[in-house]
Symmetry: C2
Subunit: 367 residues, 2 copies
């Protein structure tokens, strides 16, 4: 497809915005994609309708004759109904999922795309079967290297007409926690989360978890699709290939305390001791430390961190704060077992991927 089919670029064509105001096209994305309101950090499991949601193209129309095609380098190519898939042992996995672009709109200059602040997060119970079981059923040939997953959502990105497609190295695809999921929080997948079947890859950023899955293809070389090569890269500019985005980085968020001002979301608190609470996560690693700051990150106090209830899920934390009258910027930062700590200032990248800068919450404590 040639560029003549495309609308003019948003902004000056650099892919970056020079100030903090948001373009109308980005607003369209913010209104159809959905963040998790931060007070929902109170729930161990995010209620389904509050889980973050990023839909690249459109939610596809329901397919009455849906089946999953398993093809490529396999001894027994398959076409499986949902009933046939469910003959494999059922697995349930609680997973904290985050969009790779979470935090993008806080970068300066600001990469132009879905303008997440910090709310592209959620934790759900996914039920399905192990992808490995279906791959074994098909019989993966020697020489297989990657598995390519195709969704039913179709659109244009970077002048390329495409089905949404992502791949995984075969070794990752065969991990026991990787699911073909048909239930979310004990109910059939809702349309917006990939009905009837989606991939769930615990510990990886959201783009990996292909929704509306229609085809799995085993291939003998790295897959060069748009969503692998042109986006979801850690790069410093549009022409640099960069490194692939994969696992979720360590992050923590607090429930903004007190009550909000409607428009600015600045918080108002009564003076006294307040229990600051939230969640912390680190993909496939455990969080080992959470620290709280009431002075914008100048000084830090260790919070109480609860153990991880299950692998790949967020951990609850709390820290008491003695709030005296005044204005404050509250922050929280987490560290994981691999020694990574959230940065106070975000290392920048061109697509705004993998951000995990510490959260800032402005509060006013009354006299």
């Amino acid at each position: 497809m040639s560029d003549e089919f495309l609308w003019p670029p948003v902004g000056d064509g650099s892919g970056l915005a020079r100030d903090e105001t948001i373009f109308p096209q980005e607003l369209q994305l913010a209104l159809r994609n959905r963040g998790m309101p931060l007070e929902a950090l109170r729930y161990d499991l995010t209620p389904t309708g509050l889980h973050y949601l990023l839909i690249h193209f459109d939610i596809p129309a329901p397919a009455s004759d849906w089946s999953l095609k398993v093809a490529g380098l396999v001894s027994r190519p398959l076409r499986l109904s949902l009933e046939e898939i469910r003959k494999h042992p059922e697995v349930t996995q609680t997973v904290t999922m985050e969009c790779a672009g979470n935090g993008r709109a806080l970068l300066r200059p600001r990469p132009i795309s879905q303008p997440w602040l910090v709310e592209a997060i959620g934790t759900a119970r996914w039920t399905g079967v192990a992808l490995a079981d279906v791959l074994h059923q098909a019989g993966v040939d020697a020489g297989a290297r990657e598995v390519v997953f195709s969704g039913a959502d179709r659109g244009v990105q970077g002048s390329e007409i495409q089905d949404y497609q992502r791949s995984l190295p075969l070794s990752e695809a065969l991990r026991p926690e990787v699911l073909l999921a048909y239930e979310m929080n004990g109910e059939p997948l809702p349309p917006q989360h990939g009905h009837p079947l989606r991939l769930v890859v615990p510990g990886w950023y959201g783009m990996t978890n292909v929704k509306w899955l229609k085809q799995i293809e085993v291939v003998d070389r790295p897959f060069h699709g748009y969503q692998m090569e042109r986006t979801y890269r850690y790069a410093q500019g549009p022409d640099e290939p960069g490194d692939p985005v994969d696992r979720i980085r360590v992050r923590s968020l607090m429930i903004p305390p007190g009550i909000p001002d409607f428009l600015t979301r600045v918080r108002l608190l009564e003076p006294g001791t307040v229990e600051i609470q939230g969640r912390a996560w680190a993909g496939d690693r455990r969080v080992v430390r959470v620290e709280f700051s009431s002075d914008g990150g100048e000084s830090w106090t260790a919070g109480q961190l609860e153990p991880q209830p299950a692998p790949f899920t967020w951990q609850r934390w709390a820290c008491p704060w003695n709030a005296s009258p005044g204005r404050y910027t509250l922050c929280v930062r987490a560290s994981d077992e691999a020694g990574n700590t959230q940065p106070l200032e975000q290392p920048w990248n061109y697509q705004g991927m993998g951000n995990n800068m510490v959260q800032h919450v402005d509060v006013i404590v009354k006299e």
Copy 2:
């Protein structure tokens, strides 16, 4: 509360923005409030997690000891558990609900608030009991004039600390279709839609449908709360009292045809005949005509309009379009049985309320 507690105003303090770019504070609102992706117009009933959502303050924490207080000018003040409320006859009502601020961000100058484009809409089946039954149980005194509804969500707006509160004239409150709802689409209300109980007033804009209902008070004079007097007004400036916003105006939306470009949402179509489809609604009135335009509203073709499946619900419409190669701006407009038609250019008001300008969808038809 004095203004010293508040953050500086957003923008220049006029409440209006001079251009189309969105302020960061508005982006925060857009990311926590949720629009309905327009492809969800395909569903008669909007899946729960795709229904639009406007939360003024925070989703309140679950109350373990919740009860509904019925007070004021009643012979028998009540405190009712959900079980006691459910002793009244159960009523189910399908209702199309729309935010009064839908379309706000399309106005010029642009009122600064939740920056909806056109997606603050949804249709759900609400189950509960008639509010009239509970009011009769309490025994409304002579001299009663209004009923005030208080939610558990609390915050600051316009320097005023407040629970979210709205009132209805007694005659409206007693209409048989007005519900105290505890189920949405056959499930207990989810947290974000008002668990455990909300008001549902079919035909009125969304702000009327108080969520997390905790108190009903019968009063003998008009209620002057913030959400009645300071906002939800049709006014031309900040100091004009204006007229109250109440019932939903006539509107139609189409499912954007073809496939989207990720960033701009411009649509790409194959040439040929395409069935343009969508929904139209008009609050407590029927829609009697839907017209389609492929030239930005210069010329119009009558669409096929299905009958209303039930009062207060949207109606399906369709119109075939012979798409030949080129660029087009598609529009749809509806007219209701009272003779109202959607405007091509929106009459402006200061808070951006009750907008129902015709939708514009930019499409490219391939060669």
